[in-house]
Amino acid sequence: MNASLNVTDLVVEYVSNGYAVRPIDGRSLQANEGELVILLGPSGCGKTTLLSCLGGILRPTSGSIVVNGTDVTALSGAQLEAYRRETVGFVFQAFNLVPSLSARENVAVPLLLNGVSRRDALARADVLLERVGLAERGHHRPAQMSGGQQQRVAVARGLIRDPRLLLADEPTANLDYISAETVIRLLRELRDEGRVIVVSTHDARLVPIADRVIEMAAEPGASDVDELAVHLEAGQTLFSQGDHSELVYMIRSGEVDIIRVLADGSEERLNTFGAGQYVGELGPLLGFPRGATVRARTDADLTAFGVRQFRRIMQDRSRRG
């Protein structure tokens, strides 16, 4: 097995509620055969979006994804279907087993729906169920199994075509620690067989088993800037929607507009702030990109603070009442 994964300058942009959102903005990563990569971050940081791109079920806006020398972003239609079928294995969040099928049928269904004989498909499913320790549960439906067992069935299904790239979305999210440990052990074994395994999770307990960890969310602002004077001419932009957040600004004089940039490039003014008000504090505090553009309405003087300094100011202010 010679699996390798190269993601370069990946951008995913989509329209939500009329404005453009970029859950992935210029992401790059590499993984060699036999590596387990963990995409770590909270909900909404783009982990699942990245997995969808790697799995060929979501087309990125730009950038490239190369798996075993195949540029996935250049594939379309039937080629993508073949890529998903033959190269990638999926383990979905919440198991996503077909409720009407037994465990062995769930594992075998990708083969059955692609023309493999029932006998051969079920025989392969039995082998995989034994591998995940569920040989005796093959005839049970998902509803008759525990969460951990269902997740192991989902892993077995992901392996049915012996894929070189296994993508697992929050594989331990709904499991107790014993079941989670079983699944983690299984992922390590599969990694050791030479696959590239990419796991998205917000569960930091998985980090020790990873060969690579990709932090999907920016760290909350950690700038040491205490105070920095900023002067804007009327019409000058302080920061743009989607920019990385670092500093919080207090307006000393003049006015600034808070502007939402819409999907078609047009702008919508949300508010106007004046002297004594703060702008751009949520992004640095929470680690989010800038949610709006701030532009000077008039000539304006502002003071920029790092997050630590901003917190100090807020604490002092609350102490003073």
């Binding site: 699942t48 997995l51 969808s52 799995g55 079920i57 979501l58 039937a78 279907e81 073949a82 890529y83 998903r84 079928r85 033959e86 990638v88 999926f90 979905f92 969040q93 919440a94 996503n96 077909v98 409720p99 009407s100 099928l101 049928e105 269904v109 990708p110 059955l112 729906l113 692609n114 029932r118 299904r157 979305d169």
Partner: protein, 353 residues
């Protein structure tokens, strides 16, 4: 494909059972309506084919002996040659001699005794024998009168000596076959009146004031009063097909809706859209076939108890299930659209998304 389809049917067995029963009931009505229309269309041919004559001579301007009251002069029979035989046909009333007698409307067909014997002998006799005297009749089994029973035909006392089958007209009016003279007495109180003459070959020149029709034309004419009834039944049949489509379409749509996530997962794993479409279409077809099979059983139970005779054409056992499959596929198209639209990207969404 089969597995996915069959397992889903098993998984939703209660719903499938209800739908199959509903579709079965609706389709059994389709069978019965089809049988009824077929009976109407075949009914008059029973008697016209039993009477051994190729041509009928009628009064000019009349439409047929079973639907019009025209008469021709007995002398016309002589003009038509040796093979011509007089016939008297008309509606009458028959009363059984029971404790609470109810008159039964019948179609009296009077034939000369030799023609009467020939007619009864042509495969229509279910029980008994042909009438041989002026006080004997045969009657169709739909009248529910037994051989040997004494009845009153008009004002005359008669004995039923035979029961015939497939001898009704005008949607179930039983035919009474009797001697020509008896029929003339009951219908016209005169032996000088006949309604038609039958001949083996069409005369080169029909007698003045008469027209010549074939037996099939006579039968077709007998259907004219039923035209609206047949149209109505055909309309109801159309409605029944619509109801069948709605029932099957609704269950296929619901099933497709509930399985959107499953389809998205399977699509994400590289399953061609075509395979999933076939799996859902197969489900619609199976429900339609199961419904049709249930309908066949139900119609066999209902038909004997149906107030009108039902003559099921053998072709109905092929055309109705086939029609059901076509209707199921058309109705299932909405469900198929749901399947076709399953976005593999949604496979990564959490439960309830």
């Amino acid at each position: 494909m089969w597995l996915l389809t069959w397992r889903d049917l098993q998984y939703r067995k209660l719903r499938v059972l209800v739908v199959v029963i509903l579709a079965g009931i609706i389709m059994s009505l389709l069978f019965l309506m089809t049988g009824l229309v077929n009976q109407f269309n075949h009914e008059p041919y029973g008697i016209t084919q039993a009477i051994p004559a190729q041509q009928w001579v009628l009064q000019e301007g009349t439409r047929g002996p079973f639907t019009s009251g025209g008469v021709i002069p007995p002398s016309a029979v002589g003009e038509l040659g040796d093979t011509a035989r007089p016939v008297a046909i008309g509606r009458g009333g028959l009363t059984r001699e029971t404790a609470s007698p109810k008159p039964i409307e019948v179609m009296i067909v009077g034939l000369p005794s030799d023609l009467l014997s020939n007619t009864v002998g042509r495969g229509i006799l279910a029980k008994g024998r042909a009438p041989q005297g002026t006080d004997e009749i045969t009657i169709d089994q739909r009248a529910n009168v037994s051989v040997g029973e004494a009845v009153r035909l008009g004002g005359a006392q008669m004995t039923v000596v035979g029961v015939t089958k497939d001898t009704t007209v005008l949607a179930g009016v039983p035919i009474v076959l009797t001697d020509l003279g008896t029929a003339q007495d009951q219908l016209f109180s005169s032996r000088e009146v006949i309604t038609a003459a039958v001949v083996d070959t069409a005369p080169a020149m029909p007698p003045a004031g008469t027209i010549v029709r074939t037996g099939d034309q006579i039968a077709a004419n007998t259907l004219v009063p039923l035209k609206n009834a047949i149209k109505t039944i055909d309309f109801v049949r159309g409605l029944l097909w619509v109801v069948t489509a709605v029932i099957i379409g609704a269950v296929v749509f619901l099933s497709a809706l509930e399985r959107q996530r499953d389809f998205a997962i399977l699509r994400a794993m590289g399953t061609p859209r075509r395979s999933l479409l076939v799996a859902v279409a197969l489900q619609a077809v199976l429900i339609a076939i199961l419904g049709a099979v249930a309908a066949m059983g139900l119609q066999a139970l209902i038909a004997p108890r149906f107030p009108m005779p039902v003559r099921m054409p053998p072709s109905a056992f092929l055309t109705i299930p086939l029609g059901a499959v076509v209707v199921a596929l058309v109705a299932g198209a909405f469900g198929l659209r749901k399947v076709a639209g399953a976005d593999p990207a949604t496979a990564f969404l959490g439960p309830g998304a």
